[in-house]
Structure formats: C-alpha cells, structure tokens
C-alpha cells in the first residue's frame, strides 16, 4: 500500500487496477475527433506562409474559389471583427486569427479554405495565390534581445519582460543577493564555473494531430465543438468570449485525446476559425492538422540560451548560483507563453539552500509561439542548474552526489522551507531520496565499473542529477498573480471539481472537470471514489470532457489533476458517504455514527450479517416519500477543491552511457530513477507516467531539435527531420520511489506527469560529458546526436587536452 491515506474502506488506493479506458482503445473503438463524420460536414485547409517574415502584398483566391466543392476562402479582413486570438496571459503581441498585411513566422495562417472534402480543401489551398515581399527575420535570441531589429515594428522592444529573483519582486533583496554572490566570487578560496548552454526548442508532437469539428446550430443559437484539447472549459469560454455568446451557448467536447504534453493546452486560432466558418456556412466544419501543420503551427516548447554559474569552495559548499538567460517566445503570445519561464523561476535554485540570482528575459522572434511543453520552464531551470553543479563538482574533483548532498535543503527544514523566491514548499526529504538512489543503483560499484572500462579506453560515463518540481497548480489565489483565465470566462483556473452520483442501481457516476490525454483518469478517479464508498471500481464510471455536463475544471497540465481535481472528487465522495450513512442508518434503524461501509454496502458496526447494499441505499434516496423528515432526495454531491499551495515532487536520476569514439554515437545503457511524488494511487499508472516523461527528457537530450535555421526556415516537417525516440533507441527503465506525502491535499499526492521529463535531460548530458571528460570535454549542447558528439571529440583532440 502507498500508505498515508486517511479513510480507507477497501484497498484500492495504492494498488494496481487495470485501466478502465483500455478495452475501447485496444479494440479501435475509442472516438478521437478526426473519427467524427457529421452530416454535411465540410473540411478546412490553411494557406500558410512560406516565409518567416514578409509583407503580404496580395491574396488572390479567385482560382481556389472557382474550384469544384470549394465553399469559401476567408482572409484576415473576413475575421477582423473577431479580434485577435483570445489569450490568457496577454503580454506581448497577440496572434491575429489570420495574418493581415504581414506574416511573422513560417507556417502562419494567411487564408482558410473550406471545401466539401479533405483532399479538395488542400487542393484549393494550393491554388490560393499569395504574393509576399520577404523581409529579414529576427531569429537569433541574443540578436532579438539586443533590439537591433524589431520583430513587430509597432512595439518598442522585442523584450517583453524578464523574470528575476529571488526573492521575487523585491529589488532590494535581489540586489543584496547579487552582492552576496559577488562577495563569494571575490574570495580567494572559491571557484566559479560557468556553462553557456542552449536548451533547444522542441516540438511537442503528440501522436494525435490536433483536430476540431465545430457545428453551429442556428436554431438553438449554439455551438457544439469537438476538439482534441486539454482544456475543454477554457475553449468553450474562449469561443463564447470571441463570439459574444454565453457559456450555455457553447458546448465543447474533448473525447479521446491522443496525447497533449501541453500543446493542447491552448486555445488555437483554428478552433476559433472553424467556429466562424460553421456559423457562416451553416454546416459542421472540421480541421485536422497534417503533421506538417503540427510542426509549424502548434506551439513549441523550450528555446532558451543561458549562462549558468556556480561559485563555491573546494570542498563542495556552494555559495552562489547565477542564471542569465533569454527565452524565446516566438512571434506571438498565446495561452501561457511568457509565464513558462516564470515556472522555471519557482524552481530556479532547485532543492538547494545557496543564494541564487536568476534572470530570464522573454523575447519575441519570427518563429512559432512557445508555450507549455511537458515540464514547461521547469526542465529548462533544472537543466541549467544541474549541468552547472555537475561542472562545478568536476572542476573541484568532488563526487557530484556529495556536492548535491552538501547543499540540499535539510529534511528538518520542513515544514517551513521555502524556495529562493520565498515561495513555501510542502514537504521534502532530498537526502534520503538521493541516498536511496545511490544504494539501489549500487553507485560505488557503477563508478568502479566505469573506471575499469575507462582504463580499457572505452568512453563510458555516469550521470547524476536531482530535481525538485513545482506542480499541482494550485492555489486559486494564483489569480492575484495574473493567471486568472478570465479571458476564457473562468474566474480562476486553479481549483478543481468533482461530482459523484450514486445511481438507483448502486453504481456510481463520477463527472470531473478535468480530462485526460492518456493519464488514465477513468481508472484513478474510480479508485478514489471506490476507496471512499466501497463501491467496486467496475461499478464506477468516470466521465469528463463535455462542458455541458461536467463541473468547471480547467484540465490536465502541470501535473495537477490528481492533486486538485482528485482531491475535489475525494471530498465529493465523502459528502455522498455522509449522506449514505444517514440513509443506511434509517434503513437499519441505527445511528449514522455506527454505520460501516464494507463489501459493497453498509452495516451497523458489529452486525455485518445485516447488510444493506448500495442499491438499497440509493433506492431509498430516490424515493423521497420514504425519507425521514427533513432529508432531501437524491444521492450525489459536488465539491470544489482549491489547495493552499502547489506541490513539490522531487527525485534523483542516474544514467550510464557509452560513447563510440569513432562515430560519436551515444548508447544509453541504463537509466535508474528514484522519484518521490508523495502517495501513489495506482503504481502501474504512475510508473507509466515516469516512463513517458523520461522518454521525452531523453528525447531532448539525444534526438530532438526544433530550432529554426538562421533564415527562419524550420526544416522539421516530419518525423524524419524531427526524430522522436523509437523503441530501439531506449532501454528498459529502472524505476524506484521514496514516498513523502504532501500535506496540502487530503490524498497526499503530488503529481507525476512531468517529473520524468524534468529530471532526465541533464542526467543524460551529465553522463555523456562524464564519458568524454578524459578527453577534456566539459560541455556538449543537446541534442547529443552522433555528428555533434563526434565534433566535440575531434575538437577536444585537436585542442590537445588529452590524447
């Protein structure tokens, strides 16, 4: 058992339950948006800019409009009255629905074609003649930050803001921290080590391309929109806001969603535009991305350059950490965009005590928008910090585990520990976690084995990294920091909700405000409710993703659903349980205090032979005339949960690699992870989340590169140019955990969706640098593809560091 759960009537919390959602998915009967065929449905294709930066001289759609089956071609002027794309954190240039007189990134939509068929729409899009006058693009981040040329001529600077801490927002305290670090640097017993590194842009690339079907019913005056979104309620609100409708006039449904990883955590211009087309044409309208659309026009992640500097003494005591960086926002701000580095700032100093000055400037460039991609700001922050600590440890010749241990926030600082920006942390025990990893992995033996192989001339390396994450967002008070979601008619996006209804036959219907993109909510939530009510998991059906029926909840991102919406559902189940105890007491002529729930029903303590079933209890609830005086009929409850804090999972990872010195090929031999996400509801699902998270972090470290060319081209149009890790690229992962429950929600769970990604890229890079360290290599930028690693080896040999 995971331990730490309060009320428990069965043992389904902390145990493996096979996924309730799988039978449909393994039979091919799950419904994804592109599967939908509505009568009279039309299809959309977009005309997209082939330039990063250009004036649009003219758009001639006459040939396209004359083609058979083409219903309409829309350009910027047709949708000007709808304004820019509705955006939550509206800092910077907002995206026009369609580009007007200028395009600002490759793939920006210039015109929308609507036709009878999927193929016909693409033919017509090819027939739209757009004349461009190409301009020089701003792509390089340092150049953008210098304002040598402006991305948007009506803005004064490309720099939107800089996140700086800590403590956050207190300029005097920041200056004092900088002075403390400067003083440390000035001492003659300290060493400073800097790494300048690129945290390259990534393309999220869920296997399901985004897809949306909008259906305007003129009679009802209502949109029904199916979308492969992570945020159905926000999409409904965004559409309502754009078209001047009420929330009851827009119903959004997210059916099966084939992965999201943050990129479906946005309201997109195509989602608004298909609504517009449906309203104009009186027909359902579908847009499904091609993979090429997904590469160039769905949000990207990461995209930072920064210099990280550690200053400390020769025994490994760190006296200061500085990060000075630039983060690429792309040409337009969308849902979170400038807020992503802010998430990095939260964990800028990781789980360490040393003084930290952290500053990342957010700049526009002529590229696609960046926004939340798995980890969102936190992988970047952890990467720079853990690479710099590793370099420092190497420089002073102290074991990297020892350096980390020396600088951890001690376990006895909890409760009361806070981050470098002054934000309180829930629970943590970093040293125990690290020690558990080292012991489980046999760290000393691994080091000895590495040294033995190294003595044979093989390039073998061992990489270690630790992390703390902030997730489980979060307090609804985040609204006061500007994260209100009001643009989507959601007053605060950071609470969760659940509705639990016991039906007359004793089965339970659970409707949640959040929705999954593969995380197994139908199973996890059934476990939560089953644990509180004793109704078997197989008699509980969990629904989500339909704004017409589900209570307000914002969605699955930031590893928040179990911690926030799961806790809300837990509390809703407890309310149902309290009422059911009254009902059972009435049936059994006993006091509610004496009712025990067990074996799929209830009995009076000490009299298990006189059992009433959930069906008996619910039947009474739905026969109001039989109820005791004053009791309301029905057996359902809704709860909203707003945690008092975010959650702070943590962990330690270890990778063993071998580099082929002749080809630069990196082989990941072993990957061992010790994660701590608090209590675990379903270990099978939690491990699965870590597996996937690791693959994405390792993907960044070794394979994926979404950076633009200097001329603003993006040569990443398919999985050939943007290689995701394949089954042959990865080893089986060795997962372990420590359990440090959080105290900010009743389940004690912290969240696990992003941890694997946050912990892994730097672990692999540290291992590869360790492997190459006998040659004198101190850093190689990601992704560690053979050509780049080979070049680093050649450069080191040429420099004559070591033979």
């Amino acid at each position: 058992m995971g331990g730490g759960f309060g009320v428990s009537t069965t043992s389904v919390l902390g145990g493996v339950v096979k996924r309730r959602e799988d039978p449909a998915l393994i039979r091919g009967t799950g419904l994804y948006v592109d599967d939908l065929q509505l009568p009279g449905m039309l299809h959309v294709a977009f005309v997209r800019s082939p330039y990063a930066h250009a004036r649009v001289v003219s758009v001639d759609a006459s040939d396209a409009e004359a083609m058979d089956g083409v219903r309409a071609v829309y350009t910027a002027a047709d949708v000007a009255h709808l304004g820019d794309l509705v955006t939550q954190v509206a800092v910077g240039k907002l995206r026009p629905l369609l580009a007007g007189d200028k395009v600002n990134h490759l793939g920006e939509a210039v015109a929308m074609v609507v036709a009878d068929s999927r193929y016909g729409a693409r033919d017509a899009a090819d027939a739209v003649d757009v004349e461009y006058d190409p301009l020089d693009p701003v792509i390089d981040l340092k150049e953008a930050a210098s304002d040598a040329a402006l991305v948007h001529e009506d803005m004064e600077s490309n720099v939107l803001l800089a996140w700086e801490g800590g403590p956050w927002g207190d300029e005097e305290a920041i200056a004092a921290t900088q002075q403390t670090i400067a003083d440390a640097k000035g001492r003659d017993d300290t060493v400073s080590v800097s790494i300048e590194a690129v945290n390259q842009r990534l393309l999220p690339m869920p296997m399901e391309p985004r897809s949306v079907v909008a259906d305007w019913n003129v009679g009802y005056g209502r949109f029904t929109v199916h979308s492969s979104t992570q945020i159905a309620h926000a999409l409904a609100g965004g559409i309502a806001q754009t078209f001047g409708l009420s929330l009851t006039d827009v119903r959004c449904i997210a059916p099966e969603v084939g992965g999201g990883f943050g990129c479906k955590l946005n309201v997109y211009n195509d989602e608004i535009l298909v609504c517009f087309a449906s309203q104009q044409l009186g027909r359902p309208v579908k847009f499904t991305e091609t993979r090429r659309d997904a590469a160039g026009s769905t949000i990207h992640g990461r995209g930072w350059v920064a210099t990280a500097t550690i200053t400390g003494t020769a025994d490994g005591q760190i006296l200061g950490y500085e990060l000075d960086g630039i983060a690429d926002m792309g040409a337009y701000s969308q849902n979170f965009t400038v807020a992503i580095p802010f998430l990095g700032l939260f964990v800028g100093a990781g789980q360490y005590t040393f003084p930290t000055h952290w500053k990342v400037a957010c700049v526009h460039t002529h590229t696609m928008t960046t926004d939340a991609y798995r980890g969102a700001g936190r992988p970047e922050a952890a990467y720079y910090l853990e690479r710099a600590i590793d370099a420092f440890a190497r420089e002073i010749g102290v074991d990297p585990a020892e350096v980390r241990r020396k600088n951890f926030i001690p376990a006895d600082s909890f409760p009361g520990a806070a981050t470098h920006i002054g934000f309180p942390m829930d629970t943590g025990d970093y040293e125990t976690n690290l020690d558990a990893l080292l012991e489980t992995a046999g760290y000393e033996d691994l080091k000895a084995e590495r040294d033995r192989l190294r003595a044979e001339g093989r390039l073998v390396g061992l990489g270690l990294a630790t992390y703390v994450e902030v997730c489980g967002f979060g307090p609804s008070a985040l609204v006061d920091l500007g994260f209100s979601w009001a643009a989507y008619k959601i007053p605060s996006g950071f609470s969760g909700s659940g509705l639990v209804r016991v039906q007359a036959d004793g089965t339970a219907s659970v409707i949640i405000g959040t929705g999954p993109t593969g995380q197994g909510h139908q199973t996890t939530w059934a476990q939560i409710v089953s644990n509180q009510l004793g109704i078997p998991v197989e008699n509980i059906r969990v629904s989500h993703g339909d704004t017409a029926e589900s209570p307000l909840g914002i969605g699955t991102f930031g590893s928040r659903s179990a911690a926030v919406d799961g806790s809300a559902t837990y509390e809703a189940a407890n309310k149902v349980r309290a009422k059911a105890a009254d009902l059972a007491a009435h049936l059994l002529e006993a006091s509610a205090d004496d009712i025990v729930f067990a074996d799929g029903g209830a009995h009076v303590a000490g009299s298990p032979d006189q059992q009433v079933s959930w069906s008996d209890i619910a039947t009474l609830a739905y026969q109001p005339h039989r109820l005791p005086e004053g009791m309301e009929g029905g057996l359902e409850a809704h709860a909203v949960f707003s945690p008092g804090n975010a959650t702070w999972p943590f962990g330690s990872h270890l990778a063993l690699v071998e580099v082929d010195g002749d080809t630069g090929d990196v082989k990941l031999l072993r990957y061992i992870a010790m994660d701590d996400c608090g209590n675990v509801i379903n270990p099978m699902i939690v491990d699965g989340q870590i597996h996937g998270g690791l693959a994405q972090g390792i993907g960044q470290a070794m394979f994926e590169d979404g950076d633009y060319e200097a001329d603003g081209n993006l040569l990443k149009w398919s999985f050939v140019e943007y290689p995701l890790p394949t089954s042959a690229d990865l080893p089986s992962f060795e997962l372990h955990r420590t359990v440090t429950p959080t105290d900010i929600n009743p389940l004690g769970v912290k969240g696990i969706g992003e941890a694997g990604t946050i912990g892994s890229a730097q672990t692999v890079v540290n291992a590869v640098v360790d492997a190459l360290s006998p040659l004198g290599v101190t850093h190689v930028d990601m992704p560690l593809r053979p050509k780049r690693v080979w070049a680093a080896i050649q450069a080191a040999k040429t420099n004559g560091s070591v033979s």
Binding site: L25, R27, M207
Partner: protein, 167 residues
C-alpha cells in the same frame, strides 16, 4: 475508380478517387476509424494494418493498390469478440496511455510475433521501431509484447513489474 477488397472478413466494394489512400478508404468510406493517421509520411505507424498477411502502413498505399486484398484492421483482430493475446498484453501490462498509436502498434506486434514467436527484448524493440509512441517510452509496450508472446506459445507470461501490495 472501382475497388473491391475484403476487410475483416467482409467484402467491401466502393468507388474512390484514384489518389485515395487506403487509410482514408478504411476510415472514411468503411467507417473503420480504429486505424489512425499520425504523420502522413509513413513514419509513425499509427495506420498499420495487415494486408495479405503482411503489416503495411495504410497511409502510404493507395486504396486501389489494395484491389482484391485481404485486410485486417484493429477492429477485426478480436476473433469472436475475444481479445487477441497482443490486445490482452497491452491491457495487462499497461502498454498504452492515450491509445492513439495503439492500434498500429498492436498490428505491428501481431506481425512481429507471426515471424518470431520468441523475440528477445532487442528483437521486440527493433521489430517495433517503425511505430512511434509518445506516451509510454516503449517500456510497457515491450512488456506487453513479451506477455503476448508467452501466451501465444502457451506459456505463463512473465510476472508484472508492479510493486508489492498491489490490489
């Protein structure tokens, strides 16, 4: 153009544009939406079906090229409603998360096991290299195929990796 083929044991006769891809015939003409389109470039494998006994990527084949062929899609895999051992393995070993790559992954695994009934981990990993999954890191997909291989050999599948105390 006229095309006739057998899909999941049923004869299908229809007229399509010559350029219609097999996957669009399956999904949009025949309503078999279990076969997915993930990339348009035959790289991701979400569209994998079995055609005349061989796994093919149905987004890279014209419908008319399937004239006279026997095609099995994910919907046709469970014989008489009973799950194929590979489907069972994916369920038992958590071989899927979002489920989008799963039909293609399952069909490829069926193809792999028809050629090699006792694949090593390395052979499974290389055998499924043409199918991308963004959710699982492939770890549990490998376990699922190991499970199915054992079942198909009539052996007890390897125990799951879940920790002690699992329900």
């Amino acid at each position: 153009m006229h095309v006739s083929l057998t899909v999941n044991g049923q004869r299908a006769v229809t007229d399509v544009e010559p350029r219609t891809l097999l996957v669009h015939l399956l999904r949009e003409e025949l309503g078999l939406t279990g076969t997915h389109v993930g990339c348009d470039t035959s790289y991701c494998g979400a569209c994998t079906v079995i055609l005349d006994g061989k796994t093919v990527k149905s987004c890279t084949m014209l419908a008319v090229q399937a004239q006279g062929a026997e095609v099995t899609t994910i919907e046709g895999l469970a014989a008489n409603g009973d799950l194929h051992p590979v489907q069972e393995g994916f369920w038992e070993r958590h071989g899927l998360q979002c489920g989008f790559c799963t039909p293609g992954m399952i069909m490829s695994a069926v193809g792999l096991l028809s050629e090699n009934g006792s694949p090593s981990e390395g052979e499974i990993r290389h055998g499924l290299e043409g199918n991308l999954c963004r959710c699982t890191g492939y770890h549990n997909i490998v376990r699922a195929v190991e499970y199915a291989a054992a079942k198909m050999r009539g052996e007890e599948p390897p125990a799951p990796e879940w920790e002690e105390g699992s329900a």
